[in-house]
């Protein structure tokens, strides 16, 4: 049971991954990783995982590329030449582990088998058959994420909150002076750090390039924001929800910051506000859970929030997705500002 799209996408993924292993130019590797994410998002759609595809496209091709680029601008762009072209011990380990894993798959049910244990498990059947009457949201993924497994999602929100706090503690402290990204990355002195020594030759064309990017960004950002809001509030009807919307929203602001500079972007969303929002989302999630307990239900049992259980579920899912969206957007933006503010042209940078 194979289709051509599936085979081709996996083939492209393997070629991209091979390129990633071999490339020593980290800038090119970052771009290739972005392509890798986009290809895998396509594959997720082929495999019916539309929610996962949106998340992977926004996270892998958007935020993670930006964070890697920002890291490269602060550190080094090229990888040191390896001692050997192929490291023998890791290669052996990889072959043995890979062989063992392939051996393990021989007992796996075939791809797409409707009688596989994961398909026939009582839990899966329950979600597929009962969620319409119990939760009411057409998107079953959202029903499970926000309602059936709401407690777990609360944990995930806490995890990203904790990771952001960790990064803020590592990098947020003493910032090197005058190392901020004050102008746009595209301005000559800033661009130098990204593009390396070759940037000077491009001076005459600078103005045009900048103008095109500025106009394009200005017309794109409102649509990105609107799409983010759509994904946020339409999450129970179609693919989407707080996780995806938060990342898309953050990508819009980050794009603006990349082209117009960090200062104008931070005027709209100052770091203090982001730090507050970061905590607010998790707080809101927990507060909803406690509120349902006050109303006599279990933790995150939304049914008690309103007159009818289905109406209560709808309200609860909306609020919880909003809380997740706020946390994710704030975390992603705080992280991006953190890396960008660390200095695209820091004085300590050696090349």
């Amino acid at each position: 049971m194979l289709n051509l799209v599936d085979v081709l996408l996996f083939f492209f993924l393997a070629v991209t991954a091979l390129g990633l292993v071999r490339l020593r130019d980290l800038f090119a590797a970052t771009m290739l990783l972005s392509l890798f994410s986009l290809l895998s998002a396509g594959l997720f759609i082929v495999m019916d995982a539309v929610d996962v595809a949106i998340t992977e496209a926004a996270v892998g091709a958007g935020i993670s590329t930006m964070l890697l680029l920002a890291t490269l601008a602060i550190t080094k762009r090229r990888e040191k030449a390896p001692r050997r072209e192929v490291e023998l011990v890791p290669l052996m380990v990889v072959l043995v582990v890979g062989g063992a894993l392939v051996w393990g798959t021989l007992e796996m049910p075939e791809y797409g088998d409707p009688d596989a244990p994961s398909q026939t498990s009582p839990m899966t059947r329950h979600f597929l058959e009962k969620s319409r009457d119990e939760v009411g949201a057409p998107n079953i993924v959202t029903s499970i994420l926000a309602s059936y497994r709401g407690y777990d999602t609360f944990g995930e929100a806490t995890v990203i909150f904790t990771a952001a706090v960790g990064a803020l503690m590592l990098l947020g402290g003493r910032r090197p002076k005058d190392a901020r990204l004050t102008g746009s990355v595209l301005q000559p002195h800033n661009r130098q750090s990204l593009a390396g020594a070759g940037a000077d030759e491009m001076q005459p064309k600078e103005l045009h390039l900048n103008r095109i990017l500025e106009v394009a960004t200005k017309s794109l950002v409102p649509f990105i924001m609107m799409f983010g809001l759509y994904v946020q509030f339409h999450g129970d009807y179609g693919p989407g929800g707080g996780f995806q919307a938060g990342v898309i929203f953050a990508t819009g602001v980050a794009l603006y910051a990349l082209v117009f500079g960090l200062t104008p972007a931070q005027r709209v969303l100052p770091p203090r506000l982001l730090e507050a929002l970061l905590a607010l989302g998790v707080f809101l999630f927990g507060a909803i859970g406690l509120w349902t307990m006050v109303l006599g239900g279990n933790f995150l049992e939304y049914g008690v929030l309103s007159d009818g259980p289905l109406h209560g579920q709808h309200l609860g899912i909306l609020l919880v997705e909003l809380a997740v969206g706020i946390t994710v957007a704030a975390v992603m933006l705080a992280l991006f500002f953190l890396f960008a503010g660390r200095g695209f042209c820091g004085p300590q940078r050696k090349r």
């Binding site: 194979l2 599936d6 996996f10 990633l20 292993v21 980290l26 590797a29 990783l33 895998s40 997720f44 495999m47 019916d48 995982a49 996962v52 998340t55 992977e56 996270v59 993670s64 890697l68 890291t71 602060i74 550190t75 990888e79 040191k80 490291e87 011990v89 290669l91 990889v94 072959l95 890979g98 894993l101 392939v102 007992e107 075939e110 797409g112 409707p114 994961s118 899966t124 597929l128 319409r132 057409p138 998107n139 079953i140 993924v141 499970i144 994420l145 999602t153 995890v159 990203i160 990771a163 990064a167 590592l170 990098l171 929800g241 996780f243 995806q244 992280l335 890396f339 300590q348 050696k350």
Partner: protein
């Protein structure tokens, strides 16, 4: 049971092993983070592969369906969706460690940093 039905799993394993190789063989820390990302995407793909049902559609309820529509399994989708977002938060944490290491040692190559550590 050998057959094309396991093709997806094998390709996932190939990708996973490439990620693992980068993690072990490369000394550059940014490269290691990239390897970790490849590994992560392949694990996610493994779960999503298990969720696919032949002839099924995305797990979004079709209006008026009385049990005749076949949906893919939504549970792995939920788990992987959150895993992606948690993964990027952890990637950011790893990258901020790389940045701090670069500030302290002026290098992001594992062996160079280790050499400097030994001298201190």
């Amino acid at each position: 049971m050998l057959g094309p039905g396991l093709y997806n799993y094998w390709m996932v394993i190939v990708l996973m092993m490439m990620g693992l190789y980068v993690l072990m063989a490369k000394g550059n820390m940014v490269k290691k983070v990239i390897g970790l990302n490849i590994f992560q995407v392949s694990v996610i793909m493994f779960y999503v592969t298990m969720a696919k049902v032949r002839g099924g559609t995305a797990p979004i309820l079709v209006p008026g369906d009385a049990g005749e529509v076949l949906y893919s399994n939504p549970v792995p989708h939920v788990l992987m969706l959150t895993a992606i977002v948690v993964g990027i938060a952890n990637t950011a944490l790893a990258l901020s460690l790389v940045v701090r290491i670069h500030e302290e040692f002026g290098s992001i190559e594992e062996d160079e940093v280790q050499k400097m550590e030994d001298h201190v």
